[in-house]
Every structure is written in C-alpha cells, then in structure tokens.
C-alpha cells in the first residue's frame, strides 16, 4: 500500500512540472504521526510534506469550492467517498469542474485515531497497511490489527466506488464491507421514542459546539451559515433549556438531507465522538424507503428526490399505512 503514496507523489510532481496543474490539493504530514491535514502544494519542494496513507481520512472535495475559483487548474486526490461529495458539489455549481484535475486514489479504509487511543496507542511513528490488516509503529514497537478493529465507522460499512476522475491510481480491488450501513439505523428505529430521546440526549449533551462538524461537512457550504448570520434572527437567542442548543445537530441534519453523501466526516472530526452521521443515515434510509434507492453524489446531474417532484412520488400514507 506504501506504493500508492509514491505513485501519488510522482503524479503530483509530473503534472505540476508539465504545467497541467498549477497546484495540488492533498494531505500534509502533521505534528504527530496521525494528524494529517488537507493542504495545497504549489511546487516540487512543497510536495516534500505530501503524504497519502491510512490516516488520510480527510475529504478534500469541500476545499475545491475555493481552490477551483482560483487561476489555473488544481489537482485533487479523491478517495471513493470523496468522489461522491465532489459530484454533489459540482451538481450544486459550487465547484468549477473545468478547473479541477481529479485523480482517483485507492482506499482500503482509513484508521480511527480514537480507536487506536482506546487500544493504548498515543503516538504514531509509522504505519504499514495491507488490504485486511494494518501495523502501527508506536515508540519503536509494532502493533498489528485486523482492519475491522481500528477502521473509522464509515469505512467498515463503505460500499462506495470511485466515480469521477481524470486518472486513477489503484493497485488492489476494494475490500467488501462486512456490515450493512443501515443495521445501526434499524437498531435506533427499534427503540421506543423515550429510549431514542434518551440516546440522543446522552450523545448530543456531549457537544461543545465547536462547529467542527459543520465546518468539515461538504454539504454545509452556504455562503453564510444561518448560525453565523445575525439577520436570521436566531443568533443570541436565549435557550429555553440546556438541551435546546444541542438541537443544532437536528437542524443541520435537516439542512443536509437529500444532499448528504454519507461521507462520515462529521463523526470523524467530532472531538467528543458523537455519532453524528447516524442522523444523516436515518434520513438517507427514509429517503430510500419513500422515493426508492437514492445516493447523493452518484452523478452530478440527477435531481435529488427532496428537491424534485414526480407524479410517481409515494404518498406518505402509502408508505406508512393509514387511510388514503
């Protein structure tokens, strides 16, 4: 898998050198071994900081909103799940597609730093990745894990494939997920309303309103977020109880419903480990049930079921029973 990093780096260098692109959007080494961050590289010397490995979880597509507006083309590396967000943003006219050179890159799932920490790994010196297992080097010691144990939640149920790219870097077939992504939604649906309220109250009460979920979400791309807009009349409003503030997440889930590609970035970046993506996944499951299977970002033209009307649309009464 280390070969992927070399191939990606080589591709970036070549395309920069021959003038195909003016800059490269990729991942940069952080201060610690696991905290890779999105970065733009302008030259071969810049690219020294470039890295693609099992910690390159960040979805780069949202950064293209700004990067694709600038002079010259930008090279972007897209993992399968990122390519859905890319399509969705192209559909919403948020990315200038002509200004982007897309390189699809193989992904066998990215690691969940929180899970590694639970296993006692605080410092990462290196990582050796295979399709089904991974070895993390920490303070000179090697720790081998079966992938399932340490993958990000979104990766262990990932069924996505590379959709949109000018070129592709891939060496292996994609591993097939062992779990169904809607299993957990079914568990939530099986709860009583009181149980479910208790579950979400418990989870959402951990929220510190750092806004990381909103900032990272590719679907949260309004020019001015309603929560930052004084004119919206909701800022600085006194809460009726301590939990009201946390309904932010419910509002956000409605906001991205039908546009969310289930990229899972919200949960990945949450410092409080709130499973935020479950709200979105519940919406996706409902949309599938009401309007037929729909995957946001599968292409960049199809109208979403919530923003298009057809005479064949199900009446809620037909789906949920009751009188017509």
């Amino acid at each position: 898998m280390q070969k992927l990093n070399e191939l990606a780096l080589e591709k970036a260098k070549t395309l920069l050198a021959n003038g195909t692109v003016a800059r490269v959007l990729g991942w940069k080494k952080g201060e610690l071994g696991y905290d890779l961050e999105p970065a733009v590289f302008y030259s071969e010397s810049d690219l020294e900081g470039f890295i693609y490995n099992a910690f390159s979880g960040a979805n780069l597509s949202k950064y293209l909103i700004e990067e694709s507006k600038k002079e010259g083309k930008v090279l972007v590396f897209l993992k399968p799940c990122d390519s859905y967000s890319f399509n969705q943003l192209v559909k919403e006219h948020r990315i200038v597609k002509e200004n982007v050179y897309t390189v699809g890159i193989e992904c066998q799932g990215k690691l969940d730093v929180k899970k590694l920490k639970e296993k006692g790994i605080e410092i990462v010196d290196g990582v050796i990745e295979n399709v089904d297992d991974v070895t993390v080097i920490s303070l000179g010691k090697e720790y081998n894990f079966v992938k399932e144990e340490v993958l990000l939640g979104k990766c262990s149920v990932c069924e996505k494939h590379l959709l949109s790219y000018d070129e592709v870097i891939s060496l292996h077939d994609k591993r097939t997920p062992k779990l169904d992504r809607f299993e957990i939604v079914k568990k939530l649906e099986a709860m009583t309303a009181d149980e479910r309220y208790a579950f979400w109250k418990g989870e959402l009460s951990k929220c510190i309103r750092c806004n990381a979920c909103r900032n990272v979400c590719p679907a949260c791309n309004c020019l001015k977020c309603v929560f930052d807009n004084d004119a919206s009349g909701i800022a600085s409003k006194a809460n009726s109880d301590s939990f009201e503030e946390k309904l932010f997440h419910i509002i956000r889930a409605f906001h991205v419903a039908g546009r969310c590609t289930d990229c899972g970035e919200c949960s990945r970046v949450c410092p409080q480990a709130i499973p935020l993506h479950l709200l979105n996944r519940k919406f996706i499951s409902d949309i599938n049930r009401l309007y037929g299977e729909f995957q946001a970002g599968e292409d960049d033209v199809t109208k979403g079921p919530l923003t298009a009307y057809t005479t064949g649309d199900a009446e809620p009464s037909e789906v949920f029973g009751g009188n017509k």
Binding site: H93, R94, C222, L223, K224
Partner: protein, 663 residues
Amino acid sequence: MQRIGVFVCWCGSNIASTVDVKKVAEVLKAEPGVVISENYQYMCSENGQALIRNAIKEHSLTGIVVCSCSPRMHEATFRRTAESAGLNPYMVEIANIREQCSWIHKDMEEATEKAIILGRSAIAKLKLNAPLTSGESAVVKRALVIGGGIAGIQSALDIAEAGFEVDIVETSPTIGGNMAKLDKTFPTLDCAACILTPKMVDCAQNEKIDILTYSEVESVKGFVGNFKVQIRKKARFVDEKKCTGCGECMQKCPSKKGLNDFNMGLNTRPAIYIPFAQAIPNVAVIDPEQCLKLKNGKCGLCAMKCNVNAIDYTQKDEIIEREYGAIVVATGYKPISLENFNEYGYSQYKDVVTSLELERLMNAAGPSEGHLVRPSDHKEPKVITFIQCVGSRDTSGCGKPYCSKICCMYTAKHAMLIREKYPDTEVHVFYIDVRTPGKNYDEFFRRAVEQYGVDYVKGMVGKVYEENGKLMVQGADLINNEQVVIPSDLVVLAAAIEPSPTVRKIATMVTASIDTNNFLTEAHAKLRPVESPTAGIFLSGVCQGPKDIPETVSQASACAAKVIGLLAKDKLKCNASVAHSDETLCSGCSVCANVCPYGAITYVDKEFRLGGGKTELRRVASVNPAVCQGCGACTVTCPSGAMDLKGFTTGQIMAEVDAICKR
C-alpha cells in the same frame, strides 16, 4: 414609527356569539404600535369600510389589521378599502377569527383568548410588512378543453361563440363522450344522438375550434393566462386529412374480434374502425393491439383497399406544444367496476347488465339494432328487474358514499320505454329512495308508476342467482315487510358513476385539488362552483360532481362564461407577493430553479465586491416577477435561506409564530 389600526368584525353573530369582540378590540388596542382599535357589526359592509377608510385618514395609519373571516373571503375587499384611502393594499393583514376561531369553538372565554392571540400574530406580521406593487402579464387568448363529452363540447362552443380559439383534447378517437352512447334522454325522451350530433358537427365546423381526438395532455406548465401545454397525439395509423370515413377498410379487415367499447363490449369490431356512424372526426383508427400488420407485419389489407392512401402503419405518436390562457377540465365519468358486488352476479350471468349496457341494447345503432334481447340467447326478456343504488350511497366501503344522482331518472326512463315498446313485459324496480327533484322530473317518474304500471319495490336486493333458466332476484319489500323473490329474464344494475380515472393525473398536472372521491374541488361550493381554486382552471360537467345532461350543459356554459371573462382581459395583474433572492446569501446551487413549477428562476453570473479592490464573479438566482406566482416552493427549498417571499417572508412567519407562542 408604525401607526396600526385594528378592526374587529362581529360578522353579525357569526363571530360575536362566540368571541367577545369588544374585549378583543380593547386588548389589541394596548399592543405596541396600535393607535386605534374598533369593532363593528359587518366590517365588509359599506359602513364598515367607511369606518376603516376614515380611520386610515384621520389617524394617518401605516397599516391595518382586520380581525374577520378567512382572507379567502374578504382580503381583496379590505385591500381595496385601504387602497381607496391611500394606503398600500399590502399593508393590510387579516386575522381569521371566524373559520379558525368562532366557528370551531364553543367556549366564549377560550375563543376570545384565541382571537386576541390571532390578532396579535397579525399585528406582529404587519410590523414587518412592506408596501408592494404588482406587475402585469399578458393573456394568451386561447382556451384548452380537456375532454370531448357534452360538457367539453358545450364549453368549447360557447367560448368559440365569443370569438376565442379553443382546442378540445379527447382521449378516445371521437368526441361525444358517454352521451353519444345513450338511447333516449329524460325527461323529454328525445334521442340522445339527435340532440348531440348537431353539436358535435358544430364543433367540427367551427373554425375557432380545433378538435384533437385520440390525444392526451402530457404536461402543463405556466399559470393563469400563460399555460404551456404538451399534448400527445397518439398514432392512429390513419392520416386524418386523407381519410374520408368511407368504411371500406372496416369491411375488409380480417381481425374482427376486438371488443367494441362504444357498445360497452357487447359485440365486436374490426382492428381498424370508426367508433360509430356519427363519429367526429369521421376517421378510422387502428387498434395496434389487434392489427395483424402492426403485430406481426402480415396483412396490410386495409392499406390495399383504401382509395385515398390514408393508411400509414409507420405513424408515430406526436407531441404538440401549445399555449393557453385558460384550461377547462371536462373529463367526465365512468360507471364503477362491479367487482365488489358479486351478490348481483354481474360477472357470472350474461343477462345481468348495467344500465349503460342496456342503453346500447335498446339503441337502434346498438348490437341488436334496437331490438331489446337478452345477451345470452338473444330472446326477448319477459320479466325485467332493475336494481338501483348499486354502489351509490354505499358506506360499507365497497361502493361510493355519494348519490350518483342520475340513476333514479334513467331507471324510470328505461322502465317506461320498455313498457311502451314491449307492453307484455313485466318491469320491477328495487330502490332505496326515489330522488327526482328537478323540472318535470317527478312528473316523469310518476308517469312510469301510474301510467306505465312499473312495479317499484322499496328495498334492497340480497342476491341474484340462477334457477331453472331464470335469474332469481331475492330482496326485501320493506313496505309489505316481506322477502320477495322475482324470477327475471334480465337484471339491470344502476351502477354508481365515478370520475374518469384520468382525472387524478390531470389534477396533478394543473395543480387543481380533488376530494376523497376524486371529484375536482370547486373554489367555493356555493359561490364559485365552476372554478377550481387554482386560477385559470375551470370545471365543467361530472368531473366536479354527479350531474345529468341539463345540469352539465348549464355548468359547461357557466364555465365558458368564466373563461370568456378571463380571455377578454388583455393584461392580468400579477401577484405582488413574489419571491426574490438575497444575492449575498445565494450560492447558486440551482435547487430553487429545480422546484419552481413556473420556470420563474434563472441564473446569472454577477460580479461582487470582496473588499480590498477585489471582485468575484458569482452565480446567483434571479426571479422573474411576471412569471413568479408566489407559491413559496423555492423559499423552503433554498438550503441557504437566500430565497424569500415578499409579503410572506420567513421573518414575518417567525414573528407570527413568536406572537402566538408568547405568553
């Protein structure tokens, strides 16, 4: 500084009997911004309006709240009142304290409290109102009539008479509808064809009327005055312009086993056919399911026999696009399917027929050329039993809860005609009630009983079964309080009628509402019975509710009068409550344009200053106010909150909600 006037209406006792109107006026007077608060018996009366006008002038009001009936009733009235006193008409808010308060509550204290809250909510909204002005849009001087039965025909003739162009779109190969199938018509017993076919010919000959038969409305876009309609002209495989209707092809066609729809499937017809002798247009059509040439390429006899080369096996469906100012829905009815009524043996016994089938059996142009015989053995029936209300007034769920309205009269007609022509035939009628209001209707029914000796039995039929070659009709005679069994040769079921199944699709296309029985809803049950609540859409005939021919024709003409009133205008005042986009928030995602049913939203690349001398070209939504109808779909769809609706801004709605929730 706002100066608001509040006017609380009693509506006689409609509001005042449940709401303490004086208290409402008094409490609302204390609201910030309110300078005058009055109550009056009838605010919509001339005196009431004068009170408002004077108050506006005297107190220099900037806006008014009228606490009265639904805005659907008198919003336009009070806007005009305000305008005549020099106030912008959009500075008027209505608090509905009648339909949404006094009429639905019994407790005066509660209703009064609610009326006060509704008033406060309207005041809160008014404070955010801005004066609006409306634009104008042109009217396309052409009407579309969907359905070519007697309703559609009459509406089209009347509209054309006023000098406007009309298109009739009819799904079947001829106009005429159900009426063309009838034998005689009550209460005068003149022959249906004799009075209908001249009207059909008038339609064909009128140069203002274009008849598109074998065609369906595919899509409707636009709005009152400016509808854009796509019509699918189905392939009939015969060139309408060339065909002379000679009928030679019908003689030669070897595939003769198609069920004849016009005769209710009582006999067969060839694959190429003209529905009936007086069909308009008098042009053949090929049934592609039945035609040997179209099915397996072998035959072509009709093309060989056609003297004018009208047959074209390669003909394809054609989509026509036209513009209209008004649309008349006249989609009519069909008898219900009798599958839920096995007790009457309709599917089991050939000699149990529906009334519409009986019409064909008695019609000179029908399968038995007017000689009344039973379908099973073509013998004359000697005992005929009619069963009324088959599926009508049925609350069991098998049929329809409503009265089909026409059955009592046509059953009396059938009974009378049979007794007249075949005096030795015994005729029995089972009924729940006989309902014959209408000019000369009850006299007609009484003639059937008194003069023609028809045996009316009050009671329901339990079942129909066969015994010794007779159909045994077992029912209750409620007047003699006994069970009766009538051995009959023919049983006739007065099946309920229901709206044509196409009406749901049409209603969706034109955004007209339908009721639980699929009848189209009128704008006002009493005062606007031929208009749909959707502007520019009009209702003609049974699509709105069961009715007989005289009533259908009256309604069709009334409908035409409304259409003419609309088409006679050169310009329509546009709605001032239109959407607009806040360009500082719009991210150009196109979702609003996707949901806009009127195509009012386009996108433009616009330069925006970023500060520091820099600019940015950004794609933003732009609303055409002449096309926007203010439905608000874009405002709720916009993910960024950039779209807003003038007069119903998100801020105004939230202010209303806040005012209601405030304790």
